[in-house]
């Protein structure tokens, strides 16, 4: 009896927490289908805001900028991050904890501090602000996340398979190509997806280092809000949210499936 009472309470508590997390997002999405220009009252269902969104050249430009920057930074940070993680995992050296700590640091540093320091750096070195600086900045903060994700995968990996491959006269390169890399792949994909999501969503750091012709979607949404909140912003945010959620779901689906297969 007591147990059911407790589990009911737990269920209610969980639901409240979930509602607290997702209700604002749901309402935001709901009002993107509202006919009225004003968020205050519901007047009827429409898809017009999505239509106007896709006819808006500025929105499409911002979307292209976001995708371009996210794809480049994801590819670069995934390659660099994977290499770094493998090296960190494989070799023992004196300052390992220090290096590890340094890699974690960008995750802990307040974004605003990182954005500002990057802006100062670019200003000092006279790098013109624009897509280049955005990509550099995004690689910088994505890198740590990739290293950590890949590293976690490598930590959980047994070294017997690599040793067996070497016993069978595989060269180090072959071992890496046919054994290590496939085993680490779920971690690498997860890292890449995290990097992509972070880059697409980033506002604060982008805010500091954006220049001509590099307005990304989050920057555009922010500037639109100042103009008065219209359902167009809701529609745009809903799309951005859906994209992010589906990426996270893909990352979740990919990981357990393949890790179990690989462990067999």
């Amino acid at each position: 009896m007591q147990k059911t009472w407790r589990s009911h309470l737990l269920l209610a508590y969980s639901l409240v927490i979930l509602a607290f997390l997702y209700l604002p997002l749901l309402i935001l999405a709901l009002y993107s289908f509202n006919e009225s220009r004003i968020n205050a009252v519901w007047t009827g269902f429409t898809l017009d805001w999505y239509k106007t969104l896709f006819q808006n050249r500025r929105v499409l430009e911002a979307l292209m900028n976001s995708l371009f920057i996210a794809i480049i930074s994801t590819v670069v940070s995934t390659v660099l991050g994977t290499i770094a993680a493998i090296a960190l995992n494989r070799y023992q050296y004196k300052c390992k904890p220090v290096i590890n700590g340094l890699l974690y640091l960008p995750i802990l540093i307040p974004e605003i501090v990182m954005g500002l320091s990057l802006l100062v750096l670019f200003a000092q070195t006279q790098v013109p602000l624009g897509k280049t600086t955005l990509i550099l900045a995004h690689i910088t903060f994505c890198l740590s996340f990739v290293v950590i994700t890949v590293n976690a995968r490598l930590e959980g990996m047994r070294h017997e398979l690599e040793q067996a491959a070497m016993d069978l006269y595989a060269t180090p390169l072959q071992t890496f190509r046919y054994v290590t890399l496939p085993l680490a792949m779920p971690g690498i994909v997860a890292g890449a997806l995290i990097a992509f999501t972070l880059s697409i969503d980033d506002f604060i750091i982008s805010f500091f280092v954006a220049g001509p012709n590099s307005t990304t979607l989050p920057l555009y949404i922010y500037a639109m809000v100042k103009r008065g909140i219209s359902p167009e912003i809701n529609a745009l945010s809903t799309l951005l949210m859906c994209a992010t959620i589906s990426l996270v779901v893909i990352a979740q689906i990919l990981q357990p499936q393949h890790s179990s297969k690989n462990n067999d």
Binding site: F68, Q126, A192, F207, A223
Partner: protein
């Protein structure tokens, strides 16, 4: 495993494709050679997209339109250097600040003959006395918006905001200079007063009003009036015009004591690479026919005198914009008050915490 590889390869191809596209665009730019770029840094949704497209066609150039959300952000970006914008849109007081910091280029008026079309009152405003570092693009005036269903006596003075009948239904702008300036005006002082006694009087009046205030709000003020949460409050002409379209009961007056006037301008930052193209763009926007099209889209008062004949009747008869235009002489610009600013800030903090 295979699925994974396919996924990875497709991601990579996408990346390469995107990179390839980028490269192509660069090449195209180089091939066209002549095609210039205008880097415009402005508020979001501040131009009719068709007008910009027409400019691009006519001058064989590309307009990069990047956006900022407030003046301070703009100032930071310009001060940091590095960002090579050719044309920016600071508000009135920011023009004064940027002039003081020597961040603005003097415009070559020979390239902007259409600037003469501007309403004379807006031609050499106090924040830019010579009138050759900035040109007014959009402007508005602060007045009283009210809902005719609840506010029976048409207000004509700031004093009317203090009417106890509107307790809990009153909105004031969430801006220290605007709101303290309003209370100063109510007492017959300048909205730029630096006299401690005058500002103190304004503050005491506002403090007495604070319990009646529903919200200090700027960003969602239109929604509050349309949903009739708010009955009366301070509002800009442009917002009033927007609100009226969604709620026909909204009225608007510029009180007899006078009010604050504001403008967003065109200005060219120091070191702009495409200064001449920027000037051509400004001139293009002030062309009477283009101007008529552009301002109908953005829904603000058209400062272009010659454009009036090209406007639709609906725009010409917009009651709110009309009220703004008729009262333009009642407006007083906010200027830099220097040493007095901390005093304003202190009073403002006290007001908002008292609320």
């Amino acid at each position: 495993m295979k699925k994974l590889l396919v996924f990875l390869v497709s991601v990579l191809t996408m990346a390469l494709l995107a990179a390839g596209c980028g490269g192509d665009a660069d090449k195209k730019d180089a091939a066209a050679g002549e095609q210039q770029v205008l880097n415009l840094f402005s508020w979001a949704d501040n131009f009719d997209p068709e007008v910009i497209a027409e400019f691009e066609k006519q001058y064989n150039c590309k307009v990069n339109y990047d956006v900022f959300a407030n003046n301070e952000e703009l100032l930071a970006k310009i001060q940091a250097g590095g960002a090579q914008y050719d044309l920016i849109q600071p508000s009135d007081y920011m023009v004064a600040t940027m002039l003081k910091l020597d961040l603005l280029e003097k415009m070559n008026m020979d390239n902007i003959p259409n600037a003469k079309n501007l309403v004379s009152t807006l031609q050499a405003p106090v924040y830019d006395p010579t009138g050759d570092h900035s040109l007014v693009y959009t402007w508005g005036i602060t007045g009283i918006a009210y809902n005719k269903n609840y506010v029976k006596d048409v207000p004509d003075s700031w004093e009317d905001l203090w009417n106890p009948e509107y307790a809990g239904r009153l909105i004031l702008l969430n801006d220290s200079r605007e709101t303290i300036g309003m209370a100063l005006k109510k007492n017959g002082f300048s909205n730029n007063s630096t006299d401690p006694a005058e500002v103190e009087k304004a503050f005491q009046d506002l403090k007495a009003l604070a319990p009646n205030v529903l919200a200090f709000d700027t960003d969602t003020i239109k929604q509050k009036f349309i949903a009739e949460e708010a009955w009366i409050g301070t509002m800009w002409t442009g917002d009033a015009s927007y609100t009226l379209k969604d709620n026909p009961n909204i009225g608007f007056v510029v009180p007899k004591e006078g009010a604050t006037i504001w403008a967003d301008t065109f200005a060219i930052p120091k070191g702009a690479k495409h200064k001449e193209l920027a000037e051509k763009f400004i001139n293009f926007i002030y062309d009477p026919q283009i101007s008529a099209k552009n301002y109908e889209y953005i829904g603000y008062n058209d400062p272009n005198e010659k454009a009036q004949e090209f406007h639709s009747d609906e725009f010409k008869n917009d009651p709110m914009l009309k009220i703004g235009m008729e009262n333009i002489d009642k407006g007083e610009w906010l200027i830099d008050i220097g040493e007095a600013l901390p005093m304003y800030d202190r009073y403002w903090t006290e007001l908002k915490t008292a609320k």
